[in-house]
Symmetry: C2
Amino acid sequence: MSTKYVIGIDLGGTNTVIGLVDVKGNIIAKDAVKTQAYTEIEEYTDAVSNVIKKLIQENGCEGQVEGVGIGAPMANYYTGEIVNAANLPWKGIVPLGWLIEKKTGLTTKVTNDANAAAIGEMKYGVAQGMNDFIVITLGTGVGSGIVAGGKLIYGHDGFAGELGHVTAPVLEGRSCGCGRMDCLETYASATGIVRTARIWLETRSDASVLRSIESEKLTSKMLYDAAVQGDALAKEIFEFTGEVLGEAFCNFIAFSAPEAIILFGGLANAGELLLEPIRRKMNEDVVFLWKDKVKVLKSSLPGADAAVLGASALGWK
Amino acid sequence: MSTKYVIGIDLGGTNTVIGLVDVKGNIIAKDAVKTQAYTEIEEYTDAVSNVIKKLIQENGCEGQVEGVGIGAPMANYYTGEIVNAANLPWKGIVPLGWLIEKKTGLTTKVTNDANAAAIGEMKYGVAQGMNDFIVITLGTGVGSGIVAGGKLIYGHDGFAGELGHVTAPVLEGRSCGCGRMDCLETYASATGIVRTARIWLETRSDASVLRSIESEKLTSKMLYDAAVQGDALAKEIFEFTGEVLGEAFCNFIAFSAPEAIILFGGLANAGELLLEPIRRKMNEDVVFLWKDKVKVLKSSLPGADAAVLGASALGWK
């Protein structure tokens, strides 16, 4: 019987979502386990493997699943390991791919969530038919998956594509969780944009609906809502964030000359609020060779399922 | 008869050097034409093709040449064209590869000089056996050739790898020839380092042998000589330049996670004067994953012939 399905797993700090996916990128069935409920990796991989087996059984897909793809933080494609992931319960180096493969009998590939997103866009999304593109994930942090010449760039060690940790083209002196200063994600992630808001609310005095919200409780969603309602300060925060990204994109383009840069994840949902300043700044400042030539697109993978779908794309041989 | 040789061509603003190269990377014979002597591309390619034929004949290599590789500024690998090269006599788009191929009957590939250097390092130099590395050329400008997964990154349009035109991690407001501000090459090229010297000699008051040289006549070689002789200001200029490069390398590493970054071209000859601050700053500031893991090497291709050798490597199928 030919293989028609793959398993996609989005391993997040809170939930692990497991989906059974067909060749067209439809999620046939899915289930989840609580990542933090398992302090031992053996127990965690037992639970995940049981869900995989259950999904296959319940949907009559025995013998038709080609493999498992997992998107996880700090995941190494070459070794199938997770290495010192700050937000997961298992410390040090964890042989995730090997364990899932052993417990399910299915070929298992592991990569970080942004690489999974890039493969997902290439297989099912807006990057279909593209050989050179970059996916930028704008979530709690900033991640990236870089495809060049039709292949994902994994690098010498399997960890390539950490564009959240390149130096931002503004040097305000923001410290990053990684220990460096002024990493792109200190400005352009969901937490980075909130950081901008908190700083501006302190240093500036113009009126804003944001002033009625307790600083500690501010979220990027609140900034978005305020901007959509026309709050000038909130709009300016998105403009600044977009410009920082647009300027950073100039550097990414000089590196791999992509056909498109694709935005993925929470903050990407801000749409034109972010896309307009990104495109404007990028085309204003990119090396002349690429002026008005590189597309900036929003992921076309369906919202909540995008990460599972991305990971599943890795399961195909 | 099997093919044992390739032709390598280093197309520079002043001279075009043409070499006959064997499989081991020995230049069997070479000759040159004056690039600026030919205002018409037809005449230039006639002259170059005649030298190619002469080198093959004189060395009894008829039927044994596999192809021609050309390293040239603003060269597009996909089309074989040179596009708006500022320092060459032929304006607009010039079908260089097609003309040489037509006139010699030899398969001809064209790429920019830094990409040629990268292929040269992979075929004959320090990058033999490496699948992931970056060559940075430090000449009048800064160029780069990026190899990922064993393949050179050409990008969507053939122009990838313009790392001289990423934003430097210092924002002094130096304008670049490309129209942007604070491109890496405004700090870290042979002209960039002279620019630093001129600025520092104006803004600072410490003693230096450099003060006896007319500002307009300063060269990077003079800075090197002064530093070697122990001039404190000159040494500090190399340290600053190395630190700028080291910090920029942190970003390049986050992109493609290379095994090594290889320095090529004039300024690379400064050796430890530049390598020490590069390595120090890079390992101080790179994302923890790569601390003390990425090699910084000097090209091992032989001095004056390195560019011809690099280009020749493109001639092999």
